[in-house]
């Protein structure tokens, strides 16, 4: 099973990217977590550049967008970690989702199990950004886990190299990944059952 991990922070020493790195190092057997690092290359969404729009002559999407779409399509689930800018989702992350969401009927995030975690240096752990990101993901048709992981005061929970060492954070992170894996399994079972019904009909 493959989980794509997308950090909403571009900063080299980002706590959110570190959180996903920690998840990647701790995945259960049979689960591979791949960190996606192409966010900075995604250009601002412009319908004139979006070949899925009927109002443009653009024939191909920007390469970074195509790469993101295929990375999501190739994964069974996506784990997001978001910082909070002005009580909301960072523009770069929202922008990437705006690209991927169109057209909504064929977005690779449609029906995809997704989970959201987040870290901040303040005490609230990007909890509002996580809620907003879950709302956005739901509106574009993803199968959004109804849980959050607000990692507050992140700077105090990492070791000198920036890796998360806080046992409580790591245990909660394990719980999120475990639930995401269960959502993928449930989706597969549901698809198998539906296929069985069709085959029997």
């Amino acid at each position: 099973m493959k989980v794509l991990a997308i950090s909403g922070s571009l900063r080299r020493e980002s706590h959110n990217t570190a959180l996903l790195r920690a998840a990647a190092a701790r995945t259960p057997a049979g689960v591979e977590l791949e960190l996606w690092d192409g966010l900075k290359a995604v250009p601002p969404y412009d319908e004139d550049d979006d070949p899925s729009s009927e109002r443009t002559a653009a024939e191909t999407a920007p390469a970074a967008v195509t790469a993101l779409r295929s990375a999501i399509a190739g994964a069974d689930a996506v784990l997001f970690s978001t910082p909070e800018y002005n009580h909301s989702v960072p523009g770069a992350l929202k922008n990437a989702l705006d690209w991927v969401s169109r057209p909504v009927a064929t977005s690779p995030l449609r029906n995809k199990p997704v989970a959201v975690v987040g870290a901040s240096t303040g005490i609230f752990g990007a909890v509002w950004a996580q809620a907003e990101l879950r709302k956005v993901l739901g509106s574009l048709g993803a199968r959004v886990l109804d849980r959050e992981l607000p990692v507050g005061q992140a700077a105090t929970r990492v070791a000198a190299g920036g890796d998360f060492t806080d046992g409580e954070v790591l245990a909660q992170l394990d719980g999120v990944v475990e639930e995401l894996v269960m959502a993928v399994d449930a989706r597969r079972e549901s698809a198998a059952a539906a296929g069985g019904v069709r085959a029997a009909a």
Binding site: P103, V104, A105, N111, G138, S139, G141, A142, S190, A194
Partner: protein
């Protein structure tokens, strides 16, 4: 309500899908979202003392006047077409009083089954142009969509919610009894 069974020939009746519809209406702000399902099916079985009606609708065939809304309705925020491809209804408790009809049955949406009461009118039987009996049931019921886990909503800036929890379901079912 004095009741009786439908006075029409016994046996299995076929749903005429061209002249039938399964639709819903949800209050939204000061207006309403109206939608319907393009693909649905139904049965009506009549016996001396008993009438049974069943119906299914395919979630993926939901028809609203906006492609993005249609896609959103099929997502886990609403019906979850992938996980729960069909809505279904069944009843063997149909009571008539003149042309008024009351149907007590079970509706299943998003895997959750609840008892509902639908009311409306029954017309016929009337012989169609081929000489086959035809019968029309117009049924309406109201459900609380959150009972079925269809819970999406949005807070309005001035308070309150954008979308009503109460959904009216309107089924117009036209059955034909082939000789």
């Amino acid at each position: 309500m004095s009741t009786s069974t439908i006075a029409a020939p016994a046996g299995a009746w076929q749903l005429d899908k061209v002249h039938s519809s399964v639709a819903f209406q949800v209050p939204y702000l000061a207006g309403a979202f109206n939608g319907s399902f393009r693909e649905f099916d139904g049965t009506l079985d009549l016996a001396d003392e008993r009438a049974a009606v069943t119906g299914t609708a395919r979630v993926a065939s939901v028809d609203v006047k906006d492609d993005n809304l249609s896609a959103h309705l099929q997502s886990p925020d609403f019906f979850d077409a992938e996980g729960y491809p069909e809505l279904s209804f069944s009843s063997d408790r149909i009571a008539l009083d003149g042309e008024s009809v009351r149907v007590d049955g079970e509706i299943t949406i998003k895997g959750v089954t609840r008892a509902i009461e639908a009311t409306g009118a029954a017309h016929g039987p009337v012989a169609n142009l081929q000489g086959n009996d035809s019968l029309r049931l117009q049924l309406t019921t109201t459900v609380d969509r959150t009972d079925f886990g269809v819970s999406w909503n949005a807070e309005l800036p001035g308070g309150g919610k954008a979308l009503s929890d109460e959904v009216t379901i309107l089924a117009e079912l036209y059955f034909v009894k082939e000789a």
